[in-house]
């Protein structure tokens, strides 16, 4: 197997690394968009047995192409089981049965709290309305652990959220336990520049890996809080040809 062609885009680096983060997962609750692309890529590469769970009711979906929405017919047709939406949230998610919740976000802060509700645009303009919570608050609360994938920019990585839609690590280590949230919370934020992981002591997300060719300075410049770096910042392995081929087949299908 050869290394990837040089043309791997930042988005592709993000998705490939997001897929790799599922190497240890048996079951994944999949948000639509980037998380769904990453989880489907994982099924085609590193984790063929990964059980994909979509909030629309599909348990063990095996779509041949990337679904446009979480309610695509193929999800139901290829699922091991189709359940009602209340059953999905109560019996499967809330009970703590799912290993990994995979979320996107409009904004996150340094503790990987998520805002998908509303964003301020300055004093003269009304706040910008986003889609809202969807399944994210309880995915973030109840899955064994949480992965977040989003593009890196100061618009997305902000010092202070306008609205907390879903709790990551709250105001720091120990906050999840105080709130009675049962899962371990976010363990990685995978971006088009690199990977952030929580500091073991404080739960503040720090830069732990950069994609090939990206500098820590670039990551800091794209982050709305003073981004700290881990003692050793690694470099993510370049996408393999197999990964890129699978990803492109998936997104172009």
């Amino acid at each position: 197997m050869t290394d990837a062609p040089e043309s791997a885009s930042p988005d592709e680096l993000m998705t490939v690394n997001a897929a790799r983060a599922l190497a240890g997962a048996r079951t994944c609750f999949v948000g639509i968009g980037l998380p769904s692309a990453a989880a489907n890529l994982a099924r085609r590469t590193i984790r063929p047995d990964l059980v994909l769970i979509y909030e629309s009711g599909a348990v063990g979906a095996k779509p041949a192409r990337l679904p446009l929405s979480i309610g695509d017919g193929e999800l139901a047709e290829t699922a091991d089981a189709v359940v009602s939406v209340p059953e999905m949230f109560n019996y499967w998610l809330q009970a703590g049965r799912i290993d990994v919740g995979f979320l996107g976000a409009a904004q996150i802060d340094r503790y990987a709290n998520i805002n998908t509700t509303t964003v301020g645009r300055g004093p003269d303009r009304p706040a910008s309305r986003l889609p809202g919570a969807g399944g994210a608050p309880e995915i973030a609360a109840g899955c064994g652990e949480v992965l977040i994938v989003l593009r890196h920019s100061t618009r997305n990585f902000v010092d202070r959220l306008h609205f907390v839609t879903s709790v990551g690590h709250g105001t720091g280590r120990g906050d999840r336990e105080r709130l009675g949230l049962r899962g371990r919370g976010p363990v990685a934020v995978i971006t088009d520049l690199g990977v952030l992981r929580p500091d073991p002591e404080t739960a503040e997300f720090v830069l732990t890996e950069l994609h090939p060719g990206v500098t820590a300075e670039q990551a800091r410049a794209a982050t709305g809080w003073p981004l700290r770096t881990a003692a050793h910042v690694g470099t993510t392995a370049p996408p393999t040809a197999a990964e890129l081929t699978a990803l492109r087949a998936l997104t172009n299908a």
């Binding site: 446009l68 009602s84 509700t117 309880e138 709790v167």
Partner: protein, 286 residues
């Protein structure tokens, strides 16, 4: 006039009737209306009939308000939205929804905002005849702040504090399904989302179907709603378009993509609404 709610009495079966008549009878100014469907089986034709009839001052409930609610909101018929995720799936924002929230056009839109888990459990409580439901939810989020339909309860056995959400009992629930028989028994399959709960929580129930059949044949994943739990059935082939009905149609993804530029502009939207909904009746009448 049909006047029937969850507590059906002897002799009631679902009436099979034309959509305009069923909408005129069941959906009224000021109602709380749930039109459910999780991407699949969204009752677009019934919503368009509501727009044509100008039923207004509606409180709309729906887990995933998408293009169908964008159209109702843009038409100025909606005063309040009860929801958990409002977007154009796979495309982006709902611009009519945003314009109403951000700018009050064509009228201000009050919001009662939840998570999916909260909304699903609100319907469950409504369908169960309970005033509230319990869940692990909302802790630490800003969603609970100021909502009159999110609170807490304490477990009488463990002392643990949990979230409580108020039951949601729409005046009328509208869904689309694949088939009904001549007694008004309804069969749907595929992703059936929260539709059973939304139906059983409602005072009145309108179901549009792809097809009226002589006999409903049991099938994998099939969900049956007995005719005595449904108020009226209307046969509307393609009534879920641009959403889809598994076994009958596929999702018209191009429509959802095309909606984005149409809905970004108030004038373009208004012209679209006139041409494609207000001045058009054929699709919905049989």
């Amino acid at each position: 006039m049909i006047r029937r709610g969850a507590k059906a009495r002897a002799g009631d079966v679902a009436d099979i009737r034309p959509l305009p008549e069923a909408v005129a009878d069941l959906v009224r100014d000021g109602d709380t209306v749930a039109m459910e469907g999780f991407t699949h089986l969204i009752p677009f034709a019934a919503a368009h009939e509501v727009i044509r009839q100008g039923v207004t001052d509606l409180t709309l409930a729906r887990m995933t308000p998408d293009v169908i609610y964008d159209q109702l909101i843009g038409a100025g018929l909606v005063k309040k939205l009860i929801f958990s995720w409002g977007g154009n799936p796979g495309v982006g924002s709902l611009h009519r929804f945003r314009d109403a929230v951000e700018n009050g056009w064509p009228r201000p839109l009050e919001l009662d905002e939840h998570s999916h888990a909260g909304m699903a459990n609100r319907y469950v409580a409504g369908a169960s005849g309970l005033p509230f439901a319990v869940l692990r939810g909302y802790r630490g989020t800003d969603l609970a702040c100021g909502s009159g339909t999110i609170s807490t309860v304490t477990c009488p056995f463990t002392g643990e504090e949990l979230a409580a959400v108020a039951a949601l009992n729409p005046d009328v629930t509208v869904i689309h399904a694949q088939q009904a028989d001549r007694d008004g028994n309804v069969l749907m399959w595929g992703l059936t989302g929260v539709q059973k709960e939304a139906v059983l929580a409602a005072g009145r129930v309108l179901v549009t179907v792809e097809e009226i059949v002589d006999e409903l044949v049991p099938r994998p994943g099939g969900v049956v709603l007995p005719g005595w739990a449904v108020t009226a059935v209307a046969e509307v082939p393609g009534g879920a378009h641009p959403s889809y009905a598994a076994g009958y149609s596929v999702r018209d993804n191009d429509y959802y993509q095309a909606w984005d530029p149409i809905s970004r502009d108030r004038e373009r939207f208004t012209a679209w609404l006139r041409r494609n909904v207000l001045d058009r009746e054929g699709a919905a009448t049989r």
